[in-house]
Subunit: 337 residues, 2 copies
DNA sequence: GAGTGCACTGGGAGCGCTCCCACTGGAAGC
DNA sequence: GCTTCCAGTGGGAGCGCTCCCAGTGCACTC
């Protein structure tokens, strides 16, 4: 390819000439616009086929002021947070919805300062028709960038602090409450919480749900035992919990990865799950199903999250005014609690 | 945003006018090109700041015939294969390398016919400056599309059948051989292989490596017990193996997910790992470390795979002629073998 | 018969940028 | 003193498309 004869791609003018029509007619024929006679439409189609014509998306973009692409921005210092299968599922959902609208997906992993700068430029330069932002932490520098964005922006999960106009979130509070209630309903009272990063809204909301359920049952909530949503952090948090509260009977972990880490620590400590300590997770990742024992967890519709974000963005791009969305969560009972 | 006063973005002409220079000078100043006096350069910079000017990437793309984006195409019938954390790591690597070259990442999940058609159009229309293709299976319809691509194409992993000019792959044969040799070195002789899809080159190559090692040791290789790289398929394959070869002593699984599935089946069957049956995986995913017992596996540099693909593509885009690359694998000994 | 409407047509002006090229004037070379 | 050179400059022609609009013919009214 690199060294190939650089035979220029045919242009619309050439198609028009070959079809014996004007450029305007050819353009209309290509876009299925009205005001083209059947004969000319067919002539254009023939010329397109003969010449192997493919419209130049860049030129089209310049003329229409529409890039045909939507950006998905994943913020975070550490690019490895992206390794969380959570994002892969969001992408699958978003990609499917964008495909329906014939938009391409630009994926921006904004980890470094340079990366964030590029995202900022993309947002300000109309390098895409719209953007979806995920995983904004407190004081995330990208939050400010969205203010000067020259395109609609949809948030995946609410950022900490402000509530944007357009977002799709999951019912974190309700899910955490259900999880905790499930533990309490089995007669347990010493139920602790391993929570995610408290500088994320998901981390806070899930702890809030846990606390609500505890208070409603007339119990003292444990102080938050903070992790960062990873397996090792869950293992560490569980270890700390066993030291400080050796009599703990139940644990709500605000993420499956952390729950699996807790399981590992418990096994190492010789505690039976769920007999000695019951564990409930959050997310319902693949790992929940294959954990040992299989994890009781709160299912959140991750793919739907991505899909709805993309749909909302498409609506905005089309000039509609959708409303923010909170997707339901539900408890999936397996063996760990 | 959607309803905002549509105050047009300032253009380069306006910047030039404000700075009291011509458009050419302004353009050169912006691109750090030579032939601009210090005074005018500063005047342009000032005007840019005052106007909040951001260059329009689409217009630039049209003029330069460079889109500033590279596509990463993940092929596959089922979008859920993308949920494999493997791809996330590839993306992290590719994203980092593209960022260095100031290219954006377009992610194309070509699952449906429609998706594939869009990818084909992207490749033929120069909708990106180059493309990286992953996970091409035998007879994948996208293989043909690359022939008429109007841009350089780099393959991640070799497709089945042909060997493209530019690809980055991992030493699958060598890795599988090392894994098998490790099992044999412990005196085991009845060593079976759970292999991945045999319509992928990775699946085939890894089985080949296993077979080579068995033959070299004067042993009869087991016939391939095929899985599809997922955990359940590994569990099922292990179950089948236990039925057909109850005396099996060691298993080489061509993927960590399948290895973890095998572990699950073995535990259910009451077989101790590694005492009764030793297991070696392939990939060194996160799950290998947290598996019970921790998985001995073949580490492959997945992030590097993505990074090198992107670097190779960047080189091609810049008119250089890089050579194909095969990245090394190494055995990581943990407890399962 | 002139008047009205409408499906169709093609010319031309952008979209906002890059880059070629012709031009200037002052420094350097002879 | 007169060329030669070259950093610096701005005009203008694209890049390949969309879309407005004025213009054409033809059917159909009154």
């Amino acid at each position: 390819m690199a060294e190939d004869a650089p035979r220029r791609q045919p242009t619309l003018d050439e198609v028009a000439e070959r079809a014996g029509v004007s450029r305007s007619v050819a353009s209309r024929a290509l876009n299925n616009a009205p005001h083209v006679s059947r004969a000319k439409r067919e002539a254009v189609e023939r010329a397109v086929r003969q010449l192997g014509y493919v419209p130049n998306p860049t030129a089209r973009a310049l003329a229409t002021r529409q890039t045909g692409a939507a950006a998905l921005v994943v913020s975070g210092e550490d690019p490895s947070i992206f390794a969380d299968p959570f994002f892969a599922q969001v992408i699958v959902g978003a990609s499917a919805a964008l495909e329906e609208a014939d938009l391409h997906l630009m994926l921006c992993l904004a980890a470094s300062d340079r990366g964030r700068k590029r995202v900022a430029e993309l947002l300000r330069s109309r390098g895409a028709d719209g953007a979806m932002l995920m995983a904004l932490r407190e004081d995330d520098p990208l939050t400010r960038v969205t203010e000067e964005a020259q395109m609609p922006v949809v948030f995946g999960g609410r950022p900490v602090g402000t509530t944007p106009r357009w977002y799709v979130d999951v019912d974190n509070v309700g899910g955490a409450r259900k999880a905790t209630e499930h533990l309490l309903s089995r007669g347990l009272t010493r139920v602790a919480a391993i929570c995610g990063r408290l500088d994320t809204e998901a981390g806070r909301a899930r702890y809030r749900g846990y606390r609500d359920a505890m208070l409603a049952a007339g119990l003292d909530p444990f102080p938050p035992q903070e992790g960062d949503f990873t397996e090792p952090s869950g293992a560490a948090a569980m270890a700390a919990l066993l030291v400080n509260h050796p009599d703990v009977e139940g644990v709500f972990a605000a993420g499956d990865n952390m729950a699996v880490g807790a399981l590992r620590t418990l096994r190492k400590a010789g505690r039976q799950v769920p007999a000695d300590v019951a564990v409930v997770g959050f997310d319902d990742l693949t790992v929940a199903r294959i954990a040992d024992p299989p994890l009781t967890t709160v299912h959140q519709p991750i793919e739907a999250l991505g899909r709805e974000m993309a749909r909302m963005l498409v609506a905005l791009v089309n000039g509609q005014d959708p409303t923010a969305l909170i997707l339901p969560t539900r408890l999936v009972v397996r063996s760990s609690a």
